[in-house]
Symmetry: C2
Amino acid sequence: MVYLDHASATPVDPRVLAFAGRFLSEEFGNPSTLYTLGLSARQALEEARARVAALVGAEKPASIVFTGSATESNNLAIRGTALRNRKDGKKLLVSAIEHISVLNPMKDLQKQGFDLGVIPVDPAGIVDLGALEEQISPETVLVSVNYANDEIGTIEPIAKIARIVHEKGRYLHVNATAAAGRVPIDVERDGIDLLTLSSNDLGGPRGAAALYIRPGVKVQAVMPGGGQERGLRSGTENLFAIAGMGEAARLSADEMEAEMARERSIRDGLVREILTIDDSYLIGHPEQRLPGHASFRFSRIEGESILLNLDTFFGIQVATGSACSSRTLEPSHVLLAIGLEHAEAHGSVVMTLGRSNVPEDVPYVADAMKRTVERLRAISPL
Amino acid sequence: MVYLDHASATPVDPRVLAFAGRFLSEEFGNPSTLYTLGLSARQALEEARARVAALVGAEKPASIVFTGSATESNNLAIRGTALRNRKDGKKLLVSAIEHISVLNPMKDLQKQGFDLGVIPVDPAGIVDLGALEEQISPETVLVSVNYANDEIGTIEPIAKIARIVHEKGRYLHVNATAAAGRVPIDVERDGIDLLTLSSNDLGGPRGAAALYIRPGVKVQAVMPGGGQERGLRSGTENLFAIAGMGEAARLSADEMEAEMARERSIRDGLVREILTIDDSYLIGHPEQRLPGHASFRFSRIEGESILLNLDTFFGIQVATGSACSSRTLEPSHVLLAIGLEHAEAHGSVVMTLGRSNVPEDVPYVADAMKRTVERLRAISPL
């Protein structure tokens, strides 16, 4: 098996399990309780918070709020910030290539009377800074742009975007689910007000995610309850997942430089080999992209057929379109936003690398791709 | 260590870990993906759904929606149902002893224009059925009553409540977080429209919970995103926690009868011995209560001091008030609702049993309680 779909699910790092496993059945205390077991749970929670803060350059650990998923972090960032600051303006902006868990909360706010603008991207997926400057106004309370896109790999010029947002508008939310732990992020250097990152994308367990909230940014809770996480995210803290996320964040920070180089080299090999196939094209930015990310399109065949063939005959797992929408028949809105035709968008394949991938994957995957594309084109009616 | 606070956190059953551990690092696929690893993840997800459905007598597994926490299930049940059915009425009812993750979503709806009524309970914590009948009207779209209360242990006459709700009003939501897996629940027999249950209370991992939604009941999503769980709960499914919840549900169903008898016998021993202490009182209903639940109050001393003494000198963990609010200084609203004075409410201790407890705990805990109460009263200024 060669697993190349780390953007949709990542196996938990064994070192993370070794660290966090004890919070399941031994140190299982509820951090809100007052006895020793609860106090040590609270301590583990705060240690995880500090580790996640360190990964993204947050000066104060308290600026990290733990949630249950990246979807929930995005909801808290978007609905929580827009609703809390609505008296200052009801304009929202998103890039045209945001994840559905950013787009849908935005559309929900639109139904509640907010005005939603969409900022276009260029064919490589880079946000159009001129369009952003034109659309932003003092009534714009929130702009949301992904750090890197999970489908096309393109990394956005976040620091430049932040400067434009802060000149005329209010807050910048950055969904860094696909980027955190894979490229260096620094909320201070980049000027980010709210940042989403998920545990599983770092190699931690599902069930935890975080939202960085710059001190002073006003956000309201979107899921009322017991008032955990400074009142911003109610529910007993999932300590196993949170402590695991903390350890995964620490490992990611420590190993990022080496892992980036390692994955980039494997990725470059895949791109080089796969682009030798006739009528194949790289999707997204050629350089300004996640080091472990490669996405392609192939004329005259469907991404879904490629996916199934690679899985069945070669034990290779890849994605087509975004993982979250791959059960629908609609072409990905991200691929349409970078200017692909419907037919072109349907022929896409996304490969996202992780720790399990090795240089030997390159010839195996490239050969499998060549044979798969050849076979499918031979039977294609197009 | 004698752990007697299972209502606030329960160690994950080792059999659950043995079953569900593989979903962390081996069968880690995203159930929304189309290749084999994703399809087997989808299968495990549906198997867990069937197991949870079976635990509560739900005829169709599809009526179970997985969420990330009981707080989230309560939010989905309450906000999702009220908002979806607001054109049919804007009246809501809750009992006076609901959990804060039920009360706060209700109060949130009140701010949005809903009318919220509170149904009183008697001194044993039983909902006043006459008051319910008086307050309910055809405009009442949702009534929420807990199956059993986690602080006082009292089990509500849910079938009778359901009959009253359905005669005049619309839907009954039941928070069964404290009851599920501990007493037999049957959504058909009991006439429940929406039922919350959590993984950890069953002995499963945190990070999963469920909401049973009777077929035909209209609910809207409260956390927009990728549209997982029939569009009702977005976010990649936390398969480890969900599969663990399924296995915990299966074990709970299989072993419930024996475990109820076992815990009841230990609990009865604790009650008998502890009530020999001067000026000690049982809180909640003497018989109609969770089998593993005992709650007491002691005159002239603070529950918090008892808790710390038992932890420090005897390695015994108990709760005072609800786990979720035990960091505030306010007396529990549940204890005030059953008619306790502030001072009385402050002297409360809650013991909730689980699989780790054994009959030998009775003499040890009873002796520790006696010595602790004696010591604290000796230094009490009251």
